[in-house]
C-alpha cells in the first residue's frame, strides 16, 4: 500500500470526525431547535448521497462501466428488498446472482 502512514492517519481522522458528528446531534438537540425544513434537507441529503453511492458502486468500476454481473446482482437484491424479503435473503441473492452470471461462458 502506498504511503501507509498517511492512509492510517486519514482513517483515524475519519474515525474521530465520525464520532464528533455522532456526538453533535444529542448535544445540539439539548441547546437549539432545528427548523423542520432544515431537518428535511439533512435527511434528503443523506438519502441522495447513499443513492449516488449505490449507483456508482453498482454500475461503475474506475472511470468505466462495471459489466453485467454486479449490476444484475444488485438489481435482484433491489427487487427482493422492494418485495420486503428478509435482509439476509437480499444480500445472499445479490452475491449468488453475480457469482452465477460470472460462471456463464460469455
Amino acid at each position: 500500500m502506498r504511503h501507509q502512514l498517511a492512509v492510517v492517519a486519514a482513517m483515524l481522522a475519519l474515525a474521530a470526525g465520525t464520532f464528533a458528528v455522532r456526538l453533535a446531534g444529542p448535544i445540539l438537540r439539548s441547546r437549539i431547535s432545528f427548523p423542520g425544513r432544515a431537518e428535511r434537507l439533512l435527511e434528503a441529503g443523506a438519502i441522495v448521497l447513499l443513492a449516488a453511492l449505490v449507483a456508482t458502486t453498482a454500475l461503475t468500476a474506475g472511470h468505466g462501466l462495471a459489466g453485467v454481473a454486479r449490476p444484475a446482482g444488485v438489481a435482484v437484491g433491489g427487487v427482493l428488498a422492494w418485495r420486503r424479503a428478509p435482509f439476509l435473503v437480499v444480500v445472499l441473492a445479490a452475491a449468488a446472482t453475480a457469482a452465477l452470471i460470472r460462471l456463464l461462458p460469455l
Binding site: 475519519l14 474515525a15 470526525g17 455522532r22 434528503a44 443513492a51 453498482a58
Partner: protein, 226 residues
C-alpha cells in the same frame, strides 16, 4: 444495560430479528474485508477501521477511493461527508442517548440499523434496548466479518467470483428503499444517482457522490408542490 436484559425487554421476536440483521452485516463485513485486502490493504486495516469508524458505507468509500489512486485526504473527507447523516440521527433520538459516561459508548453505536430500529419502537425503554442490542451486535459482527473476509481475500484472490462485490450496493439500496417511497425524496435520489453516474467518467473517486448533492433541492420543491 446488559445484552440479556435488552433481549428480555424486547422479547424474542424483535431480538431474533436484530440477531439476523447483525449476521447479515457480518456477511457484508466479509465482502468488505475481502475487497480491502484484494485492493492492497493489509489484513489488520479493514478490521481496525471497522472497530473505530463503524459505518459501512463510509468505509467502503474510503478504501475504494484509496484503491483507485485518490488521496488519503479526499478519502477521509468523502467518508466524513457520507457520515454527516449521523448528525440528523442524533437529533432524531434525544431519548436514547442520555447524559453520563455511557454516552460515549452509546454515541459510538449510532449507525443506520440501530437508529432505524430505535425509531420503530414507541416506549423509551424499548427504544434504548433496541438501539443498544443492535449497536452492540454490529460492533461485534462488523469487525469479525471484516477479519474473516480479509483472511478469505488473502487466500482466494478472485473474490469477485463469489459475487461479494454485489453485496454492498444491494444492502445500501435495501436500507434506503423505505425513504424512496416518498415522492420528493425519490426524485432527488434518482437525479443525484444520474449526476453521479454521468460525472464518474471524468471526476476523481469520491467527488461524483458529492456532486449528487446538487439534486437535494428537488426534494423540497416537490414537497411544497404536493
Amino acid at each position: 444495560m446488559t445484552m440479556r436484559s435488552a433481549w428480555r425487554t424486547l422479547g424474542p421476536g424483535v431480538s431474533h430479528g436484530i440477531a439476523v440483521m447483525c449476521c447479515s452485516v457480518g456477511i457484508i463485513g466479509v465482502s468488505y474485508g475481502a475487497i480491502a485486502v484484494t485492493s492492497g490493504f493489509p489484513v489488520w486495516f479493514p478490521v481496525l477501521t471497522a472497530l473505530l469508524v463503524l459505518a459501512a458505507s463510509s468505509e467502503f468509500l474510503f478504501i475504494g477511493i484509496i484503491a483507485a489512486g485518490g488521496s488519503p485526504l479526499a478519502a477521509a473527507a468523502a467518508g466524513l461527508l457520507v457520515n454527516a447523516r449521523h448528525l440528523s440521527y442524533g437529533l432524531a433520538l434525544p431519548e436514547v442517548i442520555q447524559p453520563g459516561w455511557r454516552r460515549v459508548a452509546m454515541t459510538h453505536l449510532m449507525n443506520d440499523e440501530s437508529v432505524v430500529l430505535a425509531l420503530s419502537e414507541q416506549e423509551p425503554a424499548r427504544k434504548r434496548a433496541a438501539y443498544w442490542l443492535c449497536g452492540a451486535g454490529m460492533l461485534a459482527c462488523w469487525p469479525a466479518g471484516a477479519l474473516a473476509g480479509a483472511l478469505l481475500g488473502s487466500a482466494v484472490h478472485d473474490t469477485a467470483a463469489l459475487g461479494l462485490d454485489a453485496m454492498f450496493p444491494a444492502v445500501i439500496l435495501a436500507l434506503i428503499l423505505p425513504a424512496l417511497r416518498d415522492r420528493g425524496t425519490r426524485h432527488a435520489a434518482l437525479a443525484g444517482a444520474a449526476i453521479a453516474l454521468a460525472s464518474t467518467a471524468f471526476l476523481p473517486p469520491g467527488l461524483p457522490e458529492l456532486l449528487a448533492l446538487a439534486a437535494v433541492p428537488l426534494s423540497m420543491r416537490r414537497a411544497e408542490a404536493a
